[in-house]
């Protein structure tokens, strides 16, 4: 009988134990519409998202996963990123900075050097409310690209903001006032676009009365992050592609960028004139190489247009 009671007691203990797993989802499915505003070097973009109420506070999850922002005219030593979060119907500014961005060395983790509290006081009839964000975050650069090579040059940054959101009333003035701490975290990926090269567009127009003369215009060339400032024309010349170790430039000691160069023919270099007149001397097929440069000194790639003089 004693053994029976012992076994029954053990079974009861086991049944009781089975219901004592208190682990649960870290973040509940309580999803509400949220909104964040990301600002990168002055360019603002509104980002829809949602936030979940977790055990430790509010967590923002922003979508789309990858945000885009144009870096524009920024210097390449810093990227200034600001995130504005709408919390409890109000807009609070969260700032974080990537301390150093070098296009030649963009791998690895970067610890942010600055994180600080943002405190905002609001007077109320019963005292004043205060809101505090304590930020400590990291940016991880997860993709290495060369920002000068193509129209799609960009760098993908990912990171999250963490903070302690503190809300309450001043206890000295209102001992019964509420105080509340909420953990805050926003995870974001954003893609920074490098300064894009311009797009060159060529128009060749006939001149009335002279079949040999053409008006060659690049005035429709454009640049999406700046403006076009110079043009080059190479008529009946050629364009050569050379590599980074080309030794033809023996006067140059440093590392030489790979690229293309025009030579021969009638070569009009780096002019600010977007439209020229040219009179071909012979009938037949002629080639016009052309390119343009934007105000960040980035040249477009050489393009070629073939025309026939009859």
């Amino acid at each position: 009988m004693k053994i029976f009671r012992t076994i029954m007691g053990t079974v009861c203990c086991l049944l009781a134990l089975a219901s004592c797993d208190t682990r649960d989802e870290l973040y509940t499915e309580d999803i509400r519409n949220g909104q964040c505003i990301i600002e990168i070097n002055g360019h603002r973009d509104t980002v829809p998202g949602y936030y979940s109420k977790g055990k430790d506070g509010v967590v923002y999850d922003l979508y789309p996963r990858t945000l885009s922002a144009l870096m524009g005219y920024c210097e390449y030593d810093t990227v200034d990123v600001k995130l504005y979060a709408l919390v409890l119907g109000k807009e609070y500014r969260l700032d974080f900075y990537s301390p150093f961005y070098n296009p030649d060395d963009v791998t690895g983790n970067i610890d942010l050097k600055r994180g600080y509290d943002i405190v905002e006081y609001t007077d109320t009839p019963r005292g004043y409310q205060f809101h505090t964000f304590r930020l400590y975050t990291k940016i991880k650069i997860s993709e290495q690209v060369s920002v000068f090579q193509s129209d799609t040059s960009s760098v993908l940054l990912g990171g999250y903001l963490e903070g302690l959101y503190h809300y309450g009333l001043n206890r000295d003035m209102d001992p019964e006032g509420q105080n509340d701490d909420e953990y805050f975290r926003a995870y974001i990926n954003f893609r920074l676009w490098g300064p894009c090269p311009p797009t060159s567009v060529l128009d060749v127009v006939d001149v009335e009365g002279n079949p040999y003369e053409k008006r060659i215009s690049m005035s429709r060339s454009h640049d999406k992050d700046g403006k076009v400032v110079k043009y080059e024309y190479c008529i009946d010349g050629n364009v050569r592609t050379y590599g980074p170790r080309d030794n033809r430039f023996d006067f140059f000691d440093g590392p030489w960028q790979a690229g293309q160069s025009a030579y021969g023919g009638d070569y009009i270099t780096a002019t600010e004139i977007s439209e020229i007149s040219y009179e071909f001397q012979t009938k037949g097929t002629h080639k016009i190489y052309y390119r343009c440069m934007d105000d960040m000194f980035i040249w477009s790639t050489w393009k070629c247009e073939t025309i026939i003089i009859q």
Binding site: T10, D21, R23, Y27, R185
Partner: protein, 188 residues
């Protein structure tokens, strides 16, 4: 690092039967298992209410026929069901405590209870938020009860139920664990 340590321990465990046999041959043979100086080493596997699995090692040293020193090293994987949006691992969980024999009606059956202090390392992964990962050390205590069957002097089998209370920055929680273990007993 912790994973490598765990793999190393598992590797050592595979060598354990050879080592234990050697120990038994080299030292004095006795016919009693729960006496002073008797040591037990074994492996255990189990499952909690929501956990996927729990595996571990166990070691006990008998001070006398009633009290033993008990160490348990565990690794548990857990998924929050039914939504399965949160996944958690006790990457490593080390318990140090004592085991007390309450009842010993026959020489092959023991009813035990025990308690111990626990330290470990937890990892939480939230699938909803781009797999955000939280890691932290945890600490706490565990209490448990179980039965031990000793069909042979050298080998014993344990069925055990334990309740853990663990604390960390990520989460404070209770968790049960039901485990079966096989131990090899020897005297030094």
């Amino acid at each position: 690092m912790i994973r490598k340590l765990f793999i190393y321990l598992c590797f050592q465990l595979t060598l354990f039967p050879i080592w234990a046999e050697e120990m038994i041959n080299q030292h004095q043979m006795v016919s009693l298992s729960h006496v002073k100086g008797c040591q037990s080493v074994g492996i255990r596997g189990g499952k909690g209410t929501k956990s996927v699995y729990d595996v571990g090692l166990t070691y006990a040293y008998c001070f006398n026929s009633k009290i033993s020193l008990l160490f348990e090293l565990d690794h548990e994987r857990w998924i929050c069901r039914p939504k399965e949006k949160t996944e958690m691992s006790n990457v490593v969980l080390l318990s140090a405590g004592v085991e007390h024999n309450i009842l010993n009606p026959t020489k092959w059956f023991y009813w035990q209870w025990g308690l111990g202090a626990v330290v470990g390392y937890d990892k939480w992964i939230t699938k909803r938020l781009d797999h955000l990962v939280d890691k932290d050390f945890c600490y706490g205590a565990q209490v448990g009860t179980g039965v031990e069957f000793v069909p042979w002097t050298r080998v014993s089998f344990l069925l055990k139920a334990q309740q853990y209370a663990l604390f960390s920055k990520v989460e404070n929680y209770l968790k049960p664990n039901f485990s079966a273990a096989v131990r090899i007993n020897f005297h030094k």
